[in-house]
Symmetry: C2
Subunit: 406 residues, 2 copies
């Protein structure tokens, strides 16, 4: 009998009624003859409430205590889910991360899973008992509770699926799957039946919120077949799989966007060796991540302009650092702009198809949309544009790449 891991996010377990409903999805899988391990998040709003308590107590805090407090949210859901399953006549029990245990390193607040002791869990599953495991958390070597950080419950689900050699890992959420583009903006967006790990990874890192980068990367590394689907409807979701499972590959599979970036242009930067290091060294030291970079061709060989992007939340800190180091840099001015968005077209088909970028530039140009920055990878082209054009750009590109639903 195959093992299935099912993960329910905060919205899917946001109330007693919703937990009851999620339990019916577990029951379906049990009745299909599967052994089922369930990973639960904290009830919607609960993690925020707990984080709020910790912050109210101490803005700067011992992350080990933060973890102890915040991890209690999933503990509550796990117990309630086990009860809901028992109410449906299904044998079930809750497992805290430390009971399994899900072993992690000691980087509290952002721990990495080191391993999962599968024996006891596998034994119970084989005996027909559903295991309801707390997501987002584990146990350090020191015996303390750790949490995995953002997207942690997805990661718990993928790691558990890998440890149990599960046939599939279902991520239940409040959307029906992965879409070609955000359906709230592009009405003609279609749900994808399948997408490759690589594409999903780019989608996630370029702004698609449905799955977290870390969990996709873990699924790819451990060959865990992921399915993203809705708790609330019965429609099949989107499978995230190896490239060879997808017979007919689109050139472009999806379009992602992010409002989280800000652009800084440095005017009159001396054009000499070492200036890039002098510029980006201090940012790197301050753990500020630089995404897109473009350096203009120097017209006089003496000074040039350079533009790059950082997370909006890092903008003020970045500008302060630049001013601080401008003695060494010798730039004339720093021009910040946070009214920008990044739009990315993604598809493994790009590897074998030319002209993908041209389609993008044409589509944007025909709508009068100015491209501020461009960056590319093997399966992705990203452009930075003014935020005013976001919706127009997404719809134009969606049509241009033939993604529109009939």
């Amino acid at each position: 009998m195959a093992v299935i891991v099912q993960k329910f996010g905060g919205t899917s377990v946001g109330s007693i009624d919703r937990i009851r409903h999620a339990a019916t999805r577990v029951k379906q899988a049990v009745e299909q003859g599967h052994q089922v391990a369930v990973i639960v998040s904290a009830m919607a709003g609960e993690t925020d409430r707990l984080v709020g308590l910790v912050r109210a107590m101490a803005q700067v805090h011992d992350v080990r205590e933060y973890d102890a407090v915040v991890a209690s949210g999933e503990q509550v859901t796990a117990g309630l889910m086990a009860l809901a399953l028992q109410q449906l006549g299904i044998e079930a029990r809750s497992w805290m991360g430390w009971q399994v245990p899900i072993r992690t390193d000691s980087v509290h607040g952002a721990a990495r899973i080191a391993g999962i002791d599968r024996e006891r869990l596998a034994e119970r599953l084989a005996a027909g008992q559903v295991a309801v495991v707390t997501g987002f958390q584990g146990l350090s070597d020191a015996g303390r509770i750790t949490t995995l950080g953002r997207g942690g419950s997805d990661l718990s689900a993928v790691a558990l699926a890998a440890a149990l050699s599960a046939e599939r890992c279902d991520i239940f959420t409040d959307v029906e799957g992965v879409y070609t583009c955000d359906p709230r903006i592009v009405a003609k967006a279609r749900k994808l039946d399948k997408i490759t790990y690589e594409e999903m990874l780019e989608m996630a890192s370029q702004g698609a919120k449905v799955l977290h980068t870390r969990s996709v990367a873990a699924a790819m590394n451990h060959h865990v077949r992921l399915q993203v689907l809705s708790t609330f409807t019965e429609t099949p979701g989107t499978l995230v799989v190896d490239e060879d499972e997808i017979v007919e590959q689109q050139v472009v599979s999806g379009i992602a966007y992010s409002r989280d970036d800000a652009k800084i242009t440095i005017i009159g930067l001396p054009d000499r060796p070492g200036v890039a290091a002098a510029l980006f060294g201090p940012l790197s030291d301050a753990h500020i991540n630089v995404d897109m970079i473009v350096q203009n061709i120097s017209e006089d060989g003496e000074r040039t302009d350079l533009t790059f992007t950082v997370a909006k939340s890092d903008l003020d800190r970045t500008l302060a650092l630049l001013e601080e180091h401008n003695k060494e840099l010798g730039a004339k001015r720093f021009l910040p702009d946070s009214r920008v968005v990044k739009v990315s077209v993604i598809g493994v088909g790009m590897r074998s198809h030319a002209g993908v970028a041209l389609t993008m530039f044409d589509a944007l140009a025909s709508r009068g949309i100015n491209i501020l920055l461009i960056s590319t990878s093997e399966i992705k082209i990203s452009v930075l544009i003014s935020e005013d054009y976001l919706e127009l750009a997404l719809r134009a590109l969606h049509t241009a790449y033939g993604l529109d639903a009939d």
Copy 2:
């Protein structure tokens, strides 16, 4: 350096500010040179909220899951208290019941503490770190979270104090100590400086809410010196100690009362051997606890009346059982009365003093208060009276036994 255990109840840790305040009490003890272990309850209202979630999910539920859910309350407080102490510059960490571990039996929802592994905790305390331990919970042999039931956090504190051979176990609460009588009713009630374990045990079991019977019994058995005191004022509290520590013993130390009892009179019960067994057997089988019992003298040798008390919450169930078994009993009528209260005078001095009961009967008679039932133990006399006379009776007895404050 002596170890002190400090326990803070739900009201004392009911908000971030209150936890901060409680932490200052811990700091005082640290600055006095003590090694301090802290036991915390869940924030006021939190346990009720969690119990409410469990009940909303399943009226009849797997108590192991109930325990997993409900135990999360103390986990939150322990983390927050450790943070509050760190904010005050005190080295501290939280310990979940399972981390210590506090080992219990597997009677979920009402577990007994089997033992506490003191080594790691004692090591950290000796190194100057305050240990903040979750009250109310432990770890079963099966590795599941257990809870100790009502008054569980006090019990955790006493057990920890015993395990660590603590000099004292301070129970911080929202009253200043143990009073001769409920000060909300008897304005002249005095706070006791000291009270014996035996008296405190009777006070608790006869209705005084300040300490739970189980924790007093445990303190007595393990010779743990208890102090009940207020989190919110600096006044010394009440010490609960061995009898030989109290030099001048009052005849009566305190007066307790309970509104939790109901009376049932059975009219026309056949006066023959075995009838008491036929009556109380079914109640005992149904785990209904019978407290006071009085059987009238049979006037005709054939039928008698019998009166007894049960908990108000058991009244309906008791009456139903009596009706169900009345074929064997052959009684004429059952007269329930829940408008009664039990008043108890308590003092170890009774052992060596005659006339204590007479003082009680006189005081009540002089106010026209009718005694419905009487029961006595070595250090306690309880009477059942109409609830209308509760306040009058308490004040009269308080004066009669010379307990009034100047």
